[in-house]
């Protein structure tokens, strides 16, 4: 049926073939002794995982309980100070501003990215000329280096830039994009919607393409309208794909850093910080590594919470 179900079948099919092979003649080569190459092939990945993934993450967690600033870092002792950095973070109004910005940024980005992606996917279901070319072109916002998109949007939202020229022409007046926290947040959300909608579109479109045409034909014969077919065939079948897309998108959006750092740097007045830029500023502008690590842990906890929501949703839906 949908992409999700199909992949499950493929995975179990794969496992079946695997077990069959162990008893078949071919399995000879995968006996306990002959399995050495398996470990040789995977060893670099294990080493990488331990040294460049596991170690930094655990070290970051450890730092969040230590007083790691420039001074203690140079002297090298970095004393253990327990939860006090977490307390400082929670007491900081900028943290709560960054938290609410992150929630708003993520929610609005995902809402619009998903809606645009879904509508485009529906449109691409219809056959039209130059469809493949359009498909490739739609990937551009997403593969474009973030720096390029961020700088372009920075130019567009400049005080005398095209967006304000347009607002002015419509009689809305000049808006303080990027010079005001609320407008600044709106500007980075708009930019992020543009960057992220292709991801939603690509995954939803591949889900839609997996739906057999016969179902639509049958519904058409029964007199279902176009939107009737969309709501009673496409939407229910796409449900597992949609949950996956929404969850992946949410996790990626919570992590967004470059866009905001380039467009506003968290300002003005720390008003457009996301948790990621707030953590980076604490670490590399204020050089308080320990506290930045504590904010990092908070972001990880937030992402874990989103993940458990996904598991819960997949259970009940």
């Amino acid at each position: 049926m949908s992409g999700d179900v199909k992949t499950k079948e493929e995975v179990s099919g794969d496992e079946r073939v695997g077990t069959k092979k162990t008893s078949a003649p071919g399995g000879l080569f995968r006996g306990q002794k002959q399995n050495l190459p398996a470990y040789v092939f995977i060893l670099p990945a294990f080493l990488f995982c331990a040294l460049l993934l596991g170690y930094p993450v655990l070290y970051s967690l450890a730092l969040s309980f230590r007083d790691a600033t420039v001074e203690t870092f140079v002297s090298g002792d970095m004393p253990f100070i327990g939860l006090s950095q977490y307390q400082q973070v929670i007491a900081d109004p900028v943290f709560w501003k960054a938290m609410s910005n992150t929630v708003l940024f993520t929610f609005l980005s995902i809402l619009f990215q998903f809606t645009i992606g879904f509508l485009l996917a529906l449109y691409f279901q219809l056959n039209f000329q130059l469809r493949n070319l359009c498909l490739s072109l739609l990937l551009i916002p997403w593969v474009m280096p973030l720096l390029t998109s961020a700088n372009t949007f920075k130019g567009l939202f400049n005080e005398l830039g095209p967006v304000n020229q347009f607002c002015h022409a419509l009689g809305l007046g000049i808006k303080p994009w990027l010079a005001d926290p609320n407008y600044g947040l709106a500007a980075v959300i708009i930019a992020n919607i543009w960057i992220g909608f292709p991801f939603n579109f690509v995954l939803l479109y591949s889900g839609i393409r997996a739906i057999p045409q016969e179902i639509y034909e049958a519904a058409k014969l029964d007199g279902a309208s176009y939107w009737g077919r969309v709501f009673h065939i496409t939407v229910p079948i796409l449900k597992p794909v949609s949950i996956a897309v929404l969850m992946l998108g949410t996790i990626y959006t919570v992590k967004v850093f470059d866009l905001v750092w380039i467009m506003t740097g968290g300002g003005p007045g720390n008003g457009t910080h996301l948790l990621s830029t707030y953590a980076y500023q604490t670490g590399f502008s204020l050089l308080n590594f320990g506290q930045a690590a504590a904010i990092g842990t908070v972001i990880v906890l937030l992402i874990l919470a989103i993940n458990s929501i996904q598991f819960f949703l997949q259970r009940i839906l």
């Binding site: 992409g3 992949t7 493929e10 092979k21 071919g26 995968r30 399995n35 190459p37 398996a38 470990y39 040789v40 092939f41 995977i42 990945a45 294990f46 990488f48 995982c49 460049l52 930094p56 993450v57 070290y59 970051s60 730092l63 790691a68 870092f73 498909l135 490739s136 990937l139 593969v143 474009m144 280096p145 720096l147 390029t148 700088n151 372009t152 005398l160 347009f166 022409a169 690509v202 995954l203 591949s206 996956a244 992590k255 850093f257 470059d258 750092w261 380039i262 948790l275 953590a279 980076y280 670490g283 590399f284 930045a292 690590a293 904010i295 990092g296 842990t297 972001i299 990880v300 992402i303």
Partner: protein
């Protein structure tokens, strides 16, 4: 466009005067850093393929113990924010004196590329028949020969896709380059462009052409490989 036109009170969708010197100046300013970006991206892509390709083969077809743990480790790392890598790596690299070295930045970029590459390649490989490898093993090849002669050619389209991605991720990376490269001479393109936004305003005549020049390889790769990207991604992400 000249600066005086760029933000003039009257807006033109199409510039009235073309200022090609903006492009030549931008190119001249970026040229020394192009080499850094190329070295970092190429090294990252090469090491990523060297780690991910054999590991993906082993995970999918040879099924060693611990592959589940490794895979969850890779998946989880994709979800973690960059800050939990940047700070420890900065401290670690300072201690090891690899801050401000190109290989140091490559190591940091690997934390983004390897998990992504392994997840995509694993999905890519799962659809291919193991019989081909078995046939060559029956013919007397050992696993390493089979990997080089049979598996690598089969995996080639997948490897090309992950190589492109592992090239483009460090190409566009800002957070690691900004934190781990303070030596101006070694900075890649992204950091130079980021720093064009200075204390005294923004140098638009450099920033916009420079940003577009930086984007060119990404856009070319993306259009060239969009078929692979679409296929690889949908399989990789939804599995």
């Amino acid at each position: 466009m000249l600066p005086r036109e760029l933000f003039s009170p009257t807006f033109h969708l199409w510039p009235r005067e073309f200022a090609f010197q903006n492009w030549t100046t931008a190119l001249a300013r970026l040229a020394p850093h192009l080499k850094n970006s190329l070295i970092i991206s190429t090294m990252t892509a090469a090491v990523t393929v060297a780690i991910a390709a054999p590991a993906a083969y082993s995970m999918v077809w040879l099924k060693p113990r611990g592959k589940g743990v490794l895979f969850s480790c890779m998946l989880t790392s994709q979800m973690l924010p960059a800050i939990v890598f940047v700070i420890p790596l900065f401290i670690l690299f300072s201690r090891l004196n690899v801050v401000n070295t190109l290989p140091g930045l490559v190591l940091a970029d690997l934390t983004f590329t390897v998990p992504f590459a392994l997840i995509m390649l694993r999905a890519y490989l799962a659809d291919f028949p193991y019989e081909l490898v078995e046939a060559s093993l029956v013919d007397g090849a050992n696993q390493f020969q089979a990997f080089l002669v049979v598996v690598l050619p089969i995996m080639l389209p997948g490897i090309v896709t992950i190589a492109i991605f592992s090239f483009l991720i460090p190409w566009g990376d800002l957070i690691f380059a900004l934190s781990l490269m303070t030596d101006t001479a070694l900075q890649p393109l992204t950091v130079v462009l980021y720093k064009a936004v200075g204390q005294y305003g923004i140098d638009w005549t450099f920033l916009l052409p420079g940003s577009i020049l930086t984007a060119i390889p990404a856009v070319l790769f993306a259009i060239g490989a969009s078929r692979f990207i679409l296929a690889g991604l949908t399989r990789g992400a939804l599995r």
